[in-house]
């Protein structure tokens, strides 16, 4: 199982600078980052090599941070890969709440990170259909 940290940030200059500075000082590596914003604030989701540690340092700095499980699915970096994941989930009635992806090795390997309502069910559906799911360590070894 992979973990993602979510951080609350006001929508103003310097917020991402501050968060990434804290992570850099702790030598925490960022694999992927996504930001969604609403009315004057946003939530930054970050995939890092040491989520537990990142969670703790941000919390001790007083930054509202949340650690949660997500599903990281390995895909081939080629047309139609993402569709095949989405199709399996759709056929099994799994609703995707949030998703983002990144390429590990161009033309070869990519990872899709998804958040769904029923995590264990989505996991077993994907595994049953032959998809490889990554743990925190594997995201970095891959």
């Amino acid at each position: 199982m992979a973990h993602q940290i979510s951080v609350f940030a006001e929508n103003k200059p310097g917020r991402i600078e501050k968060i990434t500075r804290i992570l850099a000082q702790e030598s925490i590596n960022i694999r992927a980052i996504t930001i969604s914003s609403a009315n004057g604030f946003g939530v930054i989701k970050i995939l890092v090599n040491n989520p537990q540690r990142a969670y703790e340092v941000l919390r001790t700095q007083g930054i509202p941070t949340y650690l949660q499980e997500v599903i990281a699915v390995v895909m081939e970096d080629k047309p139609g890969s993402l569709h095949s994941v989405a199709r399996v989930l759709a056929e099994n009635g799994v609703n995707i709440e949030d998703a983002y992806g990144f390429v590990v090795k161009s033309g070869e390997k990519a990872v899709l990170v998804i958040q769904v309502e029923n995590q264990p069910r989505a996991q077993s559906v994907l595994e049953r259909n032959g998809f490889q799911l990554l743990s925190d360590e594997e995201i970095y070894q891959s």
Partner: protein, 423 residues
């Protein structure tokens, strides 16, 4: 004391106070102008025929127009900060201070402070009455008193821990800040401290704020009302039932009036508190407009005390602001915010004028523990705060969610309203 006896005592003391007032240049002149025979003012009803005394009167009477005794009889003066003009000065004889001390001791005893208590007084000492007033009352009871004063939170925490302080006197806004600071030192204010009584005052605050303070410290918090013109802390105080503050009617005559017309309010109706000192010789003040808004009740209190109770202060007639034609008191906003669990303890009300339109922006700190990484939940929280505020103040403010600890904090009285509108 039965109410009839209290009323008799009030009239006896009122007559003495009128005779003291006649020794002051201000009231001598006023009685002469009004062509009122001071000898005829014997009852509370008679008193109501006299005009009010205002803060402005006290200022114009600076320095000695309200002094009723020879200066050599005076042993102390207290003064308002004077930040908005000439200061107001209140003089005390030795006997006045003695009476005030007993008055404060009565308040403290009422909420359970005893000789065995350790009392840390976190209010400012000096011209401000909060520090010294409570200090002498606590000493009178025999409690060990730590005159630490305001600020320097690290030192406050050290004393709280080292001396196992049981009672504190503290500003409500500072109590909430201090709880955070104690936690950030890795301590639990409930487990690692020995507090059981907190005296909170000098700032109007809501019931919701009191609950947060009590929860944070695991102690009882009692509301204290006072103002320097009427001695200082101890004018009215909550009893253990925490349902209104007993106003000591053997020290003051209480009236609640409509701030616009000056007409008396009915029981339960919110108006301006007007007080007459009846147990002070050096500076007698008749019918003082406190600018504090509250209601009174004459309902018997389960504690058995017959002194009537006033509600918590609903605001000051001068801290009200007008937004798009609606009168709003900051305490109304505080009440709504402190009742929402996801909202942190610090907030700010910013008024601005943008494109010829008035904007009210409420900046609210969110609570870290209640953040679950969910954007939609935050949006819903924002909408909920906005809707609850609208139903309280009847206008729609902008609500800005901010990170905890980013709004400026103060160790002194908290400033909540920032009005940047150019009038």
């Amino acid at each position: 004391m039965p109410q009839e006896e209290l009323a008799r005592l009030q009239e006896e003391r009122l007559r003495h106070t009128i005779s003291q007032a006649l020794k002051t240049p201000f009231y001598r002149q006023r009685f002469a102008q009004l062509k009122v025979d001071p000898g005829k003012i014997k009852t509370v009803k008679d008193l109501q025929r006299l005009p009010f005394t205002t803060k402005e009167d006290l200022r114009q009477g600076f320095p000695f127009d309200f002094l009723a005794v020879p200066l050599e009889e005076v042993v102390r003066l207290h003064s308002s900060s004077g930040t908005t003009g000439t200061p107001t000065v209140i003089y005390h004889t030795a006997q006045d201070l003695e009476r005030w001390t007993n008055q404060v001791a009565r308040c403290l005893y009422m909420v359970g402070v005893r000789k065995t208590d350790i009392f840390q007084n976190m209010m400012s000492y000096g011209l401000f009455t909060g520090g010294l007033g409570m200090h002498y009352g606590a000493e009178r009871l025999g409690a060990m008193t730590i005159p630490i004063g305001t600020g320097n939170s690290k030192r406050q925490i050290w004393f709280l821990q080292f001396f196992k302080t049981t009672v504190v006197h503290i500003l409500p806004s500072y109590a909430l800040l201090l709880a955070q600071l104690i936690k950030s030192e890795g301590l639990d204010p409930k487990r690692d401290l020995n507090l059981h009584i907190m005296l909170i005052g000098a700032e109007p605050h809501s019931e919701e704020t009191r609950k947060r303070i009590e929860e944070a410290f695991g102690a009882k918090a009692y509301n204290s009302y006072g103002l320097s013109e009427m001695n200082g802390p101890g004018v009215a105080f909550e009893c253990p039932y925490q349902n209104g503050m007993h106003l000591w009617e053997d020290y003051y005559i209480l009236e609640v009036v409509d701030p616009k017309t000056g007409e008396p309010c009915r029981e339960g109706e919110v108006g301006e508190i007007v007080l007459t000192t009846i147990y002070r010789d050096a500076t007698p003040i008749l019918r003082y407009r406190t600018r504090d808004l509250a209601s009174f009740t004459a309902e018997p209190c389960p504690c058995g005390r017959t002194h009537r109770r006033i509600s918590r202060i609903q605001g000051r007639s001068d801290d009200m602001f007008i937004f798009r034609g609606v009168n709003i008191f900051p305490i109304q906003i505080e009440k709504v915010l402190m009742n929402i669990p996801e909202v942190g303890n610090n907030y700010r009300i910013v008024l601005a004028r943008e494109d010829y339109r008035d904007i009210m922006r409420i900046e609210v700190e969110i609570k870290s523990e209640l953040f679950f990484g969910d954007l939609q939940k935050l949006e819903r929280l924002q909408e909920r705060i906005q809707a609850e505020l609208r139903s309280e103040i009847l206008v729609t403010p902008e609500v800005i969610l901010v990170e905890p600890g980013t709004l400026p904090t103060q160790e002194g009285k908290a400033q909540r309203v920032f009005d940047h509108r150019q009038m």
